[in-house]
Amino acid sequence: MGVKTHAKGGRSVRVTVNGRPHEVEPGTTLLEFLQSRAIDVRGVAVARNEEIVPRASLGEVRLDDGDVLEVIRVVAGG
């Protein structure tokens, strides 16, 4: 997986979310990423590299290149 270099000199961060690739600005936190996708964190669970990130920590965790994210929601079920 190659890494793009921005004009500013930073590298964009490539992550996988629910199986799909996404690019984010370096330093983006998990919370910022979710907000940028208009995802309401209520009723949602997030795992990063198979570890659950507690809701309270979403704003503190910065995405790393190669991170595998899972965004889970509550749906109807029996």
């Binding site: 979310v17 629910n18 199986g19 799909r20 996708r37 208009a38 995802i39 309401d40 209520r42 009723g43 949602v44 669970a45 997030v46 795992a47 198979e50 659950i52 507690p54 809701r55 899972e70 965004v71 889970i72 929601r73 509550v74 749906v75 109807a76 079920g77 029996g78």
Partner: protein, 278 residues
């Protein structure tokens, strides 16, 4: 009466929660979320199951079940539906706890895709892990006695034997197996899956189960709200009958009208014959 029930008020206690309704509902297969809400209200249920799945990031604000359930005063019971391995079920449970905020989990580990029959061996294993991880585990199981015993030993807060395969509406196929479990485990027994009509639920309650979990029978009825109401009555009737103590089952007839003074073809004496004195 089992110690798990409060004799006077007949409240049901499972782990840290107390319920006055013994009818739990699933949230799926309704024609709309609005109908689901009306059915939950008609059933007067206090616990509703949900599932967890990957979000579709293309539609992040798609209307969700929680938007509707939040308006109701119900406990949520997330499930691990879809899990076929212990690791999968445990991971789903942890994600469900994070997403819903409850440590209650309906543990499902399925062994066969066509019948959705539970893999009871893996369910016992997963129960042990999740109890260690601080969950209140309500495992979905078969009407097998030993599986239920092992689940209780593993720390399950209730056991949930199926009446029939999920969504089939076939009713209480192995009611004797369910009764065996009721007689032998001391945690609450909640019959879950395969009930079709209120009489199925009433029969389960008459056997002494603590509660029933119903989804398809209500959601796929022609009038789900009316069926939810009827199911509520079925559960109440069955529970009241259980507490009233049923009559014994006899092998042969026991007449309901007097056996003495029966009128014959001709006028006869109803008094016993006196012996001739010789």
């Amino acid at each position: 009466m089992a110690e798990r029930d409060h004799a006077a008020s007949d409240l049901l206690t499972i782990a840290d929660k107390t319920f006055s309704s013994r009818l739990f509902l699933g949230s799926s297969k309704y024609p709309s979320f609005e109908v689901m809400v009306k059915a939950i209200e008609a059933a007067e249920t206090e616990l509703v199951t949900v599932a967890v799945r990957y979000m579709n990031l293309d539609e992040p604000n798609q209307e969700g079940v929680l938007d509707y359930l939040r308006r109701l005063n119900c406990h949520l019971l997330p499930n691990t539906a879809g899990a076929t391995t212990v690791k999968q079920a445990v991971r789903m449970a942890h994600l469900a706890r994070e997403a819903t905020g409850t440590n209650w989990i309906k543990l499902e580990v399925i062994g066969d895709e066509r019948t959705l029959w539970p893999d009871t061996a893996l369910t016992v294993e997963a129960t042990k892990v999740l109890v260690q991880d601080g969950f209140v585990v309500l495992p979905y199981t078969s009407p097998d006695l030993v599986a239920a015993i092992r689940l209780e030993e593993a720390g399950a807060s209730a056991v949930m034997p199926l009446a029939a395969p999920i969504g089939t509406g076939q009713g209480l196929l192995d009611w004797i197996g369910i009764r065996r479990i009721v007689e032998r485990v001391s945690v609450p027994v909640v019959v879950d899956a395969g009930l079709g009509v209120p009489s199925d639920a009433a029969k389960a309650m008459e056997l002494g189960v603590s509660a029933v979990l119903v989804n398809t029978a209500i959601a796929e009825a022609k009038d789900p709200v009316a069926m939810a109401r009827a199911m509520k009555h079925g559960v109440v009737a069955g529970r009241a009958a259980y507490r009233a103590g049923r009559m014994p089952i006899r092998h042969e007839a026991s007449p309901s009208s007097p056996v003495t003074g029966v009128i014959g073809e001709r006028a006869a004496s109803m008094y016993p014959l006196k012996e001739a004195v010789g």
